[in-house]
Amino acid sequence: MINVVSLTKDYKTGKEVVPVLKGVDLSIKAGEFVCIMGPSGSGKTTLLHLLGGLDTPTSGSIQINGKELTSQSEKNRTLLRRKEMGFVFQNYQLLPTLTVYENIIFPLHADGKKASPGDVDELLNAVELKGYENRFPHELSGGQQQRVAIARSLIHQPSILLADEPTGNLDRKRSGDILDLLAKFHYEQKQTIVMVTHDMFAAGYADRIILFKDGVIEAEVKREDEDYARFLARFMA
């Protein structure tokens, strides 16, 4: 459950203050698959970073599963992130010196936990990377790397998965596979997924689409809404 109220974020470049988020209110239910879309520079990635506690807002409030994130110390934000959240990035961000296996269990270890080999095996099977455990990231293709990243983001069974352009660097076929994978995990484990993308082909996977423009939520639409497709199509076109 994510609750965002009057969230703003300014960036300072030299003397200039650039508002990136200009007051965002948003509520995401547990288990929802939300897609945030919008042109580049509209603030969608910034929102995701703020939700993940990677950055602090200028004002406003973010509640993650009932806990206020903005008032937490840096350390507590990190702890919250590593317990409740998983991250998937556009450029995979695998650790080059770790093997696939070690990359996947990294979040568990960071939390001082042991990985159960069964869990890892299951995940490896799910992302179809069984047999690749001891490979290094640079020995994998982009799609394989992103699948490792997804496995890594889910190993600690977070309630929230934050994905920043997860298909941005992949071709149509591979990005389809990644989206299928996310859909499958979402279907089976009911995480809350917040995915930032500008890819129309990814948007169809979400239950709800939030449209960003110039630092505010311009519109949002749910899959069950009657003119869902037409509305979105109009917006995007």
């Binding site: 499958k184 129309m200 979105l232 995007m236």
Partner: protein, 166 residues
């Protein structure tokens, strides 16, 4: 053409009666192509006339049971092997665009925009379908959708290109 051969494919599997063929077809296309009973029977008649199927027996409820013949099997193989060309004017929008230019239609812009909107709608629809096919494990259907999506992506790019030309 493809309905005829789809029926042959269904009959190749096992003998079926008319209604079974209708539901079988619909299941094959995941209900995305509804078929009415009349269409099924006219097609069956044509197939029987061409000696591709026979209706020798009846089932317990006394419905006509169709069976594929050797000629039918050969026709099915022939069809499966036949590559499919793509005519330039298969896409109706191409003809529309051609005609619009021919008559100096003023609303070309909105025509393109509406077409794009429709394609986006289709993309959203198909991606959602793809998600469902993926979850239900229908890989062949997923592949078809992927193909359609690639076409849509290309159409979209083309529309963007002609939009620029205007």
């Amino acid at each position: 053409m493809s309905v005829k051969h789809s029926l042959l494919a269904l009959l190749y599997e096992k003998p079926r009666h008319g209604y079974e063929l209708k539901t079988g077809f619909e299941a094959l296309v995941e209900g995305l192509w509804p078929l009415n009973a009349g269409q099924v029977y006219t097609t069956l008649d044509r197939l029987e006339r061409d000696s591709f199927v026979e209706s020798l027996s009846h089932d317990k409820k006394d419905r006509k049971q169709y069976t594929i013949t050797q000629a039918g099997k050969e026709e099915l193989w022939f069809w499966l092997n036949e590559p499919v060309g793509r005519s330039l004017f298969k896409d109706e929008f191409y003809i529309k665009f051609l005609c619009a230019s021919h008559v100096s239609y003023d609303n070309k812009k909105s025509m393109i925009r509406d077409q794009k909107e429709t394609i986006l709608k289709d993309i959203l629809h198909l991606t959602h379908l793809r998600k469902q096919m993926s979850l239900s494990g229908n890989d062949t259907m997923k592949l078809l959708i992927e193909g359609a999506l690639l076409h849509l992506e290309a159409d979209m790019k083309w529309l963007e290109r002609i939009e620029e030309e205007l």
